[in-house]
Amino acid sequence: MKRNRKLVMAALTLLLLPAAPFLFAGGQQEVEDEKNVIVYNSFLSDPDARVVDEALVEMYQDRNPHVTVVHSIVAHETYKDALPAYLRAENPPDVLTWMAGETMRFYAERDLLLDLTDLWADESWDEDYTEGFRELSSYEGVPYFVPTNYYWWAVYYQKSVFEEHGLEPPETWDEFLEVCETLKANGVTPFTIGTRGRWTAGGWFDILNMRVNGPEFHMSLMDGNESYNDPRVLDVFENYWRPLIDNGYFIDDAAAYSWSEAIPFMTSGEAAMFLMGDFIRDAYPAEYEDDLGFFQFPIIDPNIPVGIDAPTDGFMIPANTRNPELAKDFVAFMGSLEAQEYMAQELGRLGTHSKIDRSILTESQIQGIELVESADVVAQFYGRDTHDEMQDRGYDAFVEFWENTGDAQRILDRLEEDRVRIFQ
């Protein structure tokens, strides 16, 4: 009997053991209750970006020794999945990184973000940020977001390969096709791409649709107000995208590679160009970087406005943060001219602050700014401009088209069914 009771106790203790960490976690909770702690979660998980992010937190800490910033960096994809949980938590992180535009508005619309009108006024960001950035940060005219950096999409190419074959960056569609044909004839695949992550194909759809049908139509399509089986969309697929794929201007089996696995085809000389965002530099081997140039995607119809993808990242604060004043103070620092200049110098992204000293920027950054400023309309990116599920269906459709270029009509008809359901 006595032995029995001992056994029961032992069993219970063993079973309860896994709960022990939670008991101790209570202690940590108390620290977080303190007024001088802010929790900052970020998705800057690439090696270079991580270093810069940590350095910025350190700079803020040095200036505010009474504040403790509890900083966690979460891998980009995981972060995206966890964000709803962060925002809805009773004790959420106080500051979160995120993307401007529709993806941010989704949460603002659900009352999950803190109204930052006073912060924008106090920091005189209303003047220091251009109207475009304010609009990207607002939902129904109210700012809920602080944009701090952006980058551009362009055609990246190897200068040495272009030189070898006597090529110049093309400016028109005809010149562009000629460049592709010359490369092909000389045994170089014009474009590398890895569509396993799918969004790289979205970059092609964005730019072709904006060039052929104009950015206004494109944004309207993103908002769910145009049909995917509209003849104008079919025109993009059939008459512009399809010949590029059918002519073999892309590497084979693109769906087998991630975007960064597609880079070696370029450095080995098998392929010459890559339509990509400027973060290509984060993964491009340093010894080849001097040879990497970029140019604006060629103009197809000179009569329509020029659009460009230039995604913007920044910060937001959950509506039920327990420390709104301190959270705003931290975001004020991250959005300051100083922090942005540091980020622009160390990471190569462009700052959103209009007073950034351009003399500190590299030649390529200046070229990037000019590219974005010369555009009539700045889009975010397919996945950021449209509904979350639409994005997923769209990406699948683009990759399916890639494999079955003769099926554009069927693929677009199905995409249209999805659009009607998703935006109903």
Binding site: M1, N4, V8, A11, L12, L15, K80, D81, P84, R88, R110, L112, T195, R196, R198, D252, D253, A254, A255, A256, F265, D388, E389, D392, D396, A397, V399, E400, W402, E403, R414, R421
Partner: protein, 300 residues
């Protein structure tokens, strides 16, 4: 009389102890398994984005399932997986067990080698095979080109026509050793006298295997088939690591589709409806199979 009461008392005590031991696991089971399961059934009848409270929509989610091509493709892939899993690894695992059960030289080495893949985590196995399948530099295509068969080299994971089979092959590669171990254990309990007797009576090795050994392995076969059905219906990691369901859903499976719907598009109601279908599917197959086995045993 008195002794009877003593026995009763000690039995009652035993029962009480048994309940004390059971209390915690049963509570845990109710809270973490039965509760969420019932809640999933309820959620499948709602629309819920995880931010606002769920709204009841009746069978709308199931109607949408009926017309959703991605769901059909995923379901078909799961069934394909199941058909392969209850045939190939079982036949191969049983054959290996029969061969390695004899005292041949190096049988321990071979047993260990065939079981090795099972020890690897699914994520590692998926990554390693992704490299083997790499169209430009992978081992498989390199070998095919090297032995003069370049026409067989292809983008294994990049084409809708080969991607599902390529992933299932990795699943089979892992499963064979696992099934083999089950049968090796089962073979230990096969009555050797019966086998010898059948040989004396003139049965060939195939006949004695078919009519003497195999019936004795029936309980193992039952377990292996049930495990194979469950394993093939809940596949997730290999697909998530190797293709994430791509290209364009050609290798999508229900578990991955549930994950996408629930945690990337925040459509918990719809995700729950898929989960319910997956649950019913597993339930129907296993109940059908087990009841058939039970009936056969009754007849015997």
């Amino acid at each position: 009389m008195k002794s009877q009461r003593l026995v009763n008392r000690s039995r009652r005590k035993e029962t009480r102890t048994a309940f004390a031991f059971l209390l915690l696991p049963v509570t845990v089971y109710l809270i973490w398994i039965i509760g969420p399961m019932l809640y999933t059934f309820y959620l499948s009848l709602t629309e819920w984005d995880m931010f606002t409270s769920p709204t009841f929509v009746g069978l709308a989610n199931f109607r949408r399932l009926a017309a959703d091509p991605v769901f059909h493709r995923s379901l078909l892939n799961n069934l394909k997986w199941m058909v392969v899993f209850i045939t190939v690894p079982i036949a191969a695992g049983l054959s290996l067990a029969m061969v390695l059960n004899r005292k041949v030289r190096g049988s321990t080495f071979f047993k260990a080698s065939f079981f090795m893949p099972m020890v690897l985590s699914l994520v590692v196995a998926g990554l390693v095979w992704s490299w083997l399948y790499n169209p430009a530099h992978g081992l498989i295509n390199t070998v095919l080109r090297g032995i003069g068969l370049p026409q067989l080299a292809r983008g294994w994971l990049a084409n809708a026509s080969t991607v599902m089979e390529s992933i299932i092959a990795v699943g089979v590669w892992r499963q064979v050793g696992y099934v083999m171990v089950f049968y090796l254990a089962g073979l230990q309990s096969v009555n050797k006298d019966l086998v010898d007797a059948s040989r004396v009576d003139g049965a060939g090795s195939w006949k004695s295997f078919r009519h003497v050994v195999l019936p004795q392995l029936a309980p193992i076969t039952t377990v292996v088939i049930v495990i194979s059905i469950i394993d093939s219906l809940r596949v997730f990691a290999l697909v998530a690591v190797m293709t994430d369901g791509g290209p364009h859903n050609a290798s999508n499976v229900l578990a991955n589709y549930i994950y996408l719907t629930g945690f990337q598009w925040y459509q918990m109601g719809y995700a729950a409806a898929i989960a319910v279908v997956l649950f019913l599917l597993a339930f129907v197959f296993i109940v059908f199979y087990l009841s058939r086995i039970a009936r056969e045993e009754d007849h015997a």
